[in-house]
């Protein structure tokens, strides 16, 4: 199962980065339409899909890839 | 089958009228002089599978009405002047949300705690601004038990027809006096509501009933829509006119005061005085056209003596309706000392002898 980051929903609050036990996430330099710096993968290989980022995210940014094909 | 006649108080007639109108839920709070309404409803509604609940305050009660109306109930509340003031934010929301309901105000002396005697001091509050914003109530003012019964029943149909609260504006005289009531079963239409009420988003997207419009254009459009609704309401205008048009002076009065004035007018007409009588029954929309027609009939300039149990409120609406087509005189009895018919007769005769004066 591949995790997709819905960048347009992200507000760069950093909670997922703070709580990811593997430090797999980082605040990227990309900005979304609203001008927020969005979260990105720091080291995707470390991610074991524990779901803590999903739990802590106030914007439902982390979803399953297959649920959100463009 | 001859319809039954019973001896009831005005407030009981209002409650019975509501039941005849299909009221199936009532939320209220005790306040003299209308306590018989919640008391009667607490007996009758459960018997008919309806809902009765006394809230902890009028503020809470009107919001319970709001909730019940949003899910399609024929909801009602009743109170008296101070309680009505507490409900005014709720009124504004009910108007903005286009939610039908019936609100009864049995007016008592004000301002402040005032008294429990009669008054017509809430006229402006009822017809000009029941709550903040431009919203209006359709306001009906009965002056007898039979009329209170029929108008309250009809109010439920009108509320749904216009999706707007309807107010029955009465007072402690009518409320607390007893007279025979003929228990007719009025024909009250029920209107289709399933297309807008909240009922659970089954096989459809969630519905929203809200009055928040942060987009200014959208809010302006809402207000214009409500304004058109008030114009459409003009077909519901009702009044009682006892005048050929040749009279020199017309008494204008509503509610219980109209009863006292009517007797005075009868007595004077019997003695040949050129006096007529005009009683608005819908206070909003106000019978402006009917008043103008009366003023212009027989090409005779007339005096309009507006008799009220307040410090002069409806007189302003009469003046603006006639805009110069008649001489406006105000006979304002501050609540709650009641005039006798003879007092009013003396005032009428005095006015007939006046040249012309505008002492609004």
């Amino acid at each position: 199962m591949k995790i997709k980051i819905l960048e347009e929903r992200c507000k760069g609050c950093g909670l997922c980065i703070e709580f990811c036990p593997k430090r797999a996430l980082v605040l990227s330099d990309r900005r979304n339409l609203l001008g927020y710096k969005v979260v990105g993968w720091n080291s995707p290989e470390k991610c074991n899909q524990c779901g803590i980022c999903y739990l802590m995210c106030p914007e439902v940014v982390f979803v399953r890839e297959e649920d959100f094909e463009e | 089958m001859k319809s039954k006649r019973i001896l009831v108080k005005g407030v009981e007639a209002i409650a019975l009228g509501a039941l005849a109108g299909g009221c199936n839920c009532y939320f209220g709070y005790p306040i003299t002089p209308q306590n018989e309404i919640p008391e009667l409803m607490s007996v009758e509604l459960p018997k008919r599978g309806g809902v009765f609940l006394q809230a902890e305050s009028e503020t809470s009660a009107i919001n319970m009405v709001l909730g019940a109306s949003a899910v399609g109930a024929r909801a009602m509340t009743s109170s008296s002047s101070p309680g009505i003031s507490l409900m005014s934010e709720g009124f504004s929301y009910l108007i903005a949300l286009e939610l039908p309901c019936v609100i009864v105000n049995v007016m008592r002396g004000g301002p402040g705690l005032g008294g429990i005697e009669a008054s017509q001091g809430d006229y402006f509050q009822a017809v000009k601004a029941p709550g903040h914003g431009d919203g209006k109530f359709l306001v009906l003012a009965p002056y007898s038990c039979n009329e209170a019964y029929e108008l309250t029943a009809k109010a439920f149909e009108l509320a749904e027809k216009y999706r707007n609260p309807v107010m029955i504006l009465s007072d402690a005289i009518l409320g607390q006096m007893k007279e025979p009531l003929t228990l007719k079963s009025p024909k009250i239409k029920t209107l289709e509501k399933d297309d807008w009420i909240l009922s659970g988003a089954k096989d459809r997207p969630g519905r929203v009933i809200k009055s928040l419009f942060l987009d200014s254009a959208e809010l302006a459009e809402r207000n214009l829509k409500l304004k058109q609704k008030y114009q459409k309401m003009e077909v519901e205008i009702k009044f009682e006119r006892l005048a050929e048009g040749s009279e020199e002076l017309i008494i204008v009065a509503f509610g219980s005061m109209a009863r006292i004035c009517k007797e005075a007018v009868f007595n004077l007409r019997a003695r040949g005085y050129p006096v007529g009588f005009f009683r608005p029954i819908t206070l909003f929309p106000f019978p402006r056209k009917a008043l103008c027609e009366l003023a212009e009939s027989h090409q005779k300039r007339k005096k309009f003596l507006v008799v009220e149990l307040n410090c002069g409120q409806m007189v302003e609406d009469v003046a603006s309706a006639l805009c110069g087509k008649g001489d406006i005189l105000s006979l304002a009895y501050p609540p709650s000392v009641l005039p006798f018919p003879e007092d009013i007769e003396r005032e009428i005769i005095k006015c007939l002898n006046l040249s012309t004066s505008l002492n609004v």
């Binding site: 106030p58 | 319970m64 949300l97 659970g200």
Partner: protein
């Protein structure tokens, strides 16, 4: 049962308008997860209150009625009394529920209205810019207590969950937070228990959820998230009342 990375069915796809790091979004998701799991969408009426969460209807795809400020529990009473078959919940802030609306809330609880009230407690009036609220902590600075909440002037923090737990007709009463993964799961568990208390007609159910308010606390999102731990010292977490399941 919903799994991680599910986008809940009854959660609309609109992005939230909440400030970065505000916990409203987490609570919205949890509510939608529970509505989906208990299959309640078809019979739910949500009461949006006045405050940051007044746009509830942009986010949760159920029938929603906007209640005047503080009156959500009274409006919900009117709905539930007329339609006891519907599932009714209110979503209110601490100002809406426990300041202007305390009368409505307490009497709905005391009457045992079969509704579920959710109070998001972030100790300030968020939408209007961070004014003092009944749940503001002692000495906490707000835009209307610039020198900090002074007990001599503004009294003491109002502990709503503890109060409601003393009511006979309250079936479920708990307080939780969502500032760490364990508590997020606990909050969802409490919400489900509260919803079930309503569905089983046991009485009034109440879940108070401590929430961060980064902008009005003048903190970044992560610091505000941890500051909620400070709130738990004044507002302890846990179930304060739970009627046993019906036999």
């Amino acid at each position: 049962m919903s799994k991680p990375f599910d986008f809940p069915k009854c959660l609309k796809r609109n992005t939230f308008h909440y400030c970065p790091g505000c916990h409203h979004g987490i609570v919205h998701r949890l509510i939608c997860e529970v509505i989906d799991e208990l299959n309640l969408k078809d019979k739910t009426i949500g009461l949006a209150s006045i405050g940051c969460s007044c746009f509830l209807y942009f986010y949760i795809d159920v029938d929603i009625l906007e209640a005047p400020h503080g009156r959500a529990c009274s409006v919900a009473t009117g709905i539930k009394r007329m339609r006891p078959d519907l599932f009714v919940f209110t979503y209110q802030g601490d100002g809406d529920f426990s300041a202007i609306g305390l009368g409505d809330s307490i009497h709905a609880a005391s009457r045992g209205e079969k509704i579920t009230a959710i109070m998001i407690n972030n100790t300030v009036y968020g939408m209007t810019g961070g004014q003092v609220s009944p749940t503001t902590l002692l000495y906490q600075k707000t835009t209307t207590t610039p020198l900090g909440r002074d007990p001599q002037r503004e009294g003491y923090p109002l502990k709503v969950a503890e109060i409601l737990a003393t009511f006979e007709a309250v079936a479920f009463c708990a307080r939780s937070a969502v500032n760490n993964p364990k508590r997020v799961k606990e909050t969802k568990n409490y919400l489900k228990k509260a919803f079930k208390a309503q569905l089983e007609n046991k009485g009034f159910s109440y879940v108070e959820i401590l929430s961060s308010c980064p902008v009005n606390w003048r903190m970044d999102a992560v610091s505000a998230n941890y500051h909620v731990d400070k709130l738990t010292e004044v507002y302890p977490l846990g179930i304060f009342k739970e009627l046993p399941p019906k036999k």
